[in-house]
């Protein structure tokens, strides 16, 4: 298991945003975490990467307990992440966004950076090259000098994914990668995510667009901060509780 979550609980005041949540992700899988709005999906991501500290529970990554470790440490350990809102550096250009994200690999020391040593220049050239190939992968190469905040929404999301790839993660957390996209963009993104998996990245994604189920090996359904179902995508389509969560109880109508 690459990622293991045990008994994760987060209380905000008296409200439990996430309650006794368990799940796991195996290496090389694409796992979907789905649920209606407000179910706690983004909170779980924040708890994994240390933006919020869990009230209870553990997060184990690659055998190491990373519960509550700060976000940049999680990034160093190999967890990449996209954000649903404000996913970019708005005042940087597209290429600057990706290049800035290459902070960790290859990492130059502060002295190397400041004194513009050979190591630094070589690393920066490598970064430039790799960022261009990532941009090509997500289809944004033609816009490399455009300011990120000027991009249309779908492209911003793509750039977010590109940015997350730059950290060379072993686990990539994608927060609503299909949010606000039109059908063409959705197809493209799904293909890009598959391609990422083929390159060896394990993916955990959060969505409430059911379309994503087609590429997930497994899906975990969450509502009100608790897991309500888990399993193969096809099976869950017929699961009563899942339907209830999304569409409400027929008997109440």
């Amino acid at each position: 298991m690459l990622l293991e979550i045990n008994g994760l609980t987060k209380l905000f005041g008296g409200l439990s945003a996430v309650k006794e949540f368990d799940m796991y992700v195996n290496k090389g899988e694409i796992v979907g975490l789905i649920g209606p709005n407000g179910a706690g999906k983004t909170t779980i991501f924040n708890l994994i990467t240390g933006i919020d500290k869990p009230t209870k529970g553990k997060v184990i990554f690659n055998g190491q307990d990373i519960t509550g470790k700060r976000p940049h440490v999680c990034a160093q350990l190999g967890i990449g992440r996209t954000f649903q809102l404000n996913p970019l550096f708005p005042n940087f250009t597209v290429s600057e966004n990706v290049e800035a994200s290459f902070f960790l690999h290859p990492q130059s020391s502060l002295l190397d950076i400041y004194f513009n040593t050979f190591t630094y220049r070589r690393n920066e050239a490598l970064i430039k090259e790799q960022s261009l190939s990532i941009l090509q992968l997500v289809g944004l190469l033609h816009l490399e000098n455009e300011l990120a905040k000027n991009l249309p929404h779908g492209y911003q999301k793509m750039l977010g994914i590109a940015r997350a790839l730059a950290t060379k993660p072993s686990l990539s957390l994608l927060d609503e990668p299909l949010g606000g996209m039109n059908p063409d963009e959705i197809e493209f993104t799904i293909a890009a995510i598959k391609e990422t998996q083929e390159q060896g990245v394990t993916i955990l994604l959060v969505e409430h667009n059911m379309r994503i189920m087609s590429i997930c090996q497994r899906v975990v359904v969450i509502n009100f901060g608790q897991k309500i179902a888990e399993g193969l995508p096809q099976k869950l389509r017929e699961n009563k509780e899942v339907i209830q969560a999304y569409f409400g109880d027929e008997n109440l109508a």
Partner: protein, 331 residues
């Protein structure tokens, strides 16, 4: 890859042009004392050079998204530290000036750690109060600093009373500091700082340690403003706490803002304009503040992003004009 090569070529062309412009400016400044003999004007330029280092170092901190309203107080720390070490402990000046910078940097780093947690507005306020506290501390420590009355007879920087050697010293000092700060900003360090300022969540998700970088930015900014203060102390021979109080803190920001915080050149332009122009334009000392106020109001209403935004604004107005002309022709 052809487009890529073109881009890198044009980038290095831009670099060369920029270096050339700076080189010419420095050359002109180097020639200035030969043309202008008035010691007062030389003094104005010396002060400008010192304050340019202070305001550019202020900007170095602001690019990480923090507003250090205490920056003038750090200038004071550097100034008083160097003065005390030189006068009361008799240490040589070439040592006390960097040590003054180190003192400012150490205190900056010390408070940066708890302060870095605070979000922008709260950071600015706490920084403001810290600066006020330092200022009051200077006033209180009369035994060391001479208190509110001032600290006098500070050892001279250079063994001469002529201003011209000081002019060249501070010119070289400014060029070196600006070079160092430029490199800091345009390297990956600066990129990471700007990333933090735009989105600290995204920055930390790519592995940038937000707190460490904020502390780094503040430390570097404090070091340079500290040595600027130290140079000022040994040039001015006296120090008074009012040089580093809340108004001084706001003024450092004003110098930088008038030029524009969005570009490295902004604080340079703003500081130069606000220190030099009022002195030279007015024959009566009394009107100097009003000329400064006029400059401030002009920028406030017309170009709030600072003077460096002027080319952009002008091209925008010209485009708007042209649009109107073509529209009226069509009608």
């Amino acid at each position: 890859m052809c487009a890529d090569e073109k881009q890198t070529a044009s980038k290095s062309n831009a670099k060369i042009i920029r270096l050339a412009i700076y080189g010419i400016l420095v050359f002109i400044l180097a020639l200035l004392p030969l043309l202008i003999k008035s010691p007062y004007v030389i003094h104005v330029f010396i002060t400008t050079f010192i304050y340019i280092v202070a305001t550019v170092s202020l900007r170095t901190v602001t690019i990480s998204g923090q507003y250090p309203l205490a920056h003038a107080a750090f200038m004071g720390i550097g100034a008083y530290a160097s003065a005390i070490m030189a006068k009361l402990m008799g240490w040589p000046i070439w040592l006390t000036i960097p040590l003054g910078g180190v003192a400012a940097m150490a205190i900056g780093a010390f408070i940066a750690y708890p302060f870095a947690r605070l979000r922008a507005f709260y950071y600015a306020m706490v920084s403001l109060f810290f600066g006020l506290g330092i200022n009051q501390l200077i006033i209180v420590s009369t035994k060391w600093t001479g208190g509110a009355g001032g600290f006098t007879n500070i050892p001279h920087l250079l063994p001469t009373t002529d201003k011209v050697p000081y002019y060249y010293f501070t010119l070289v000092f400014m060029v070196l500091c600006l070079g160092a700060l430029w490199r800091f900003e345009y390297s990956r360090i600066g990129i990471s700082l700007k990333a933090i300022a735009q989105s600290h969540l995204v920055a930390s998700s790519v592995g940038i340690n937000e707190a460490s970088f904020r502390i780094l930015a503040l430390s570097v900014g404090c070091f340079f403003v500290g040595i600027a203060g130290a140079v000022y102390a040994h040039y001015n021979f006296t120090l008074s706490p009012t040089c580093f109080d809340i108004t001084a803190g706001l003024w450092l920001f004003v110098y930088a803002l008038i030029g524009g915080l969005s570009s490295f050149n902004g604080p340079i332009v703003g500081t130069a304009l606000l220190i030099i122009a009022p002195q030279l334009l007015s024959n009566l000392k009394q009107f100097v503040p009003f000329i400064s106020a006029a400059i401030l109001l002009l920028v406030f209403y017309v170009m709030p992003q600072g003077l460096v935004s002027l080319p952009q604004l002008l091209s925008y107005w010209i485009k708007e004009r042209r649009k109107k002309d073509t529209l009226s022709h069509a009608a």
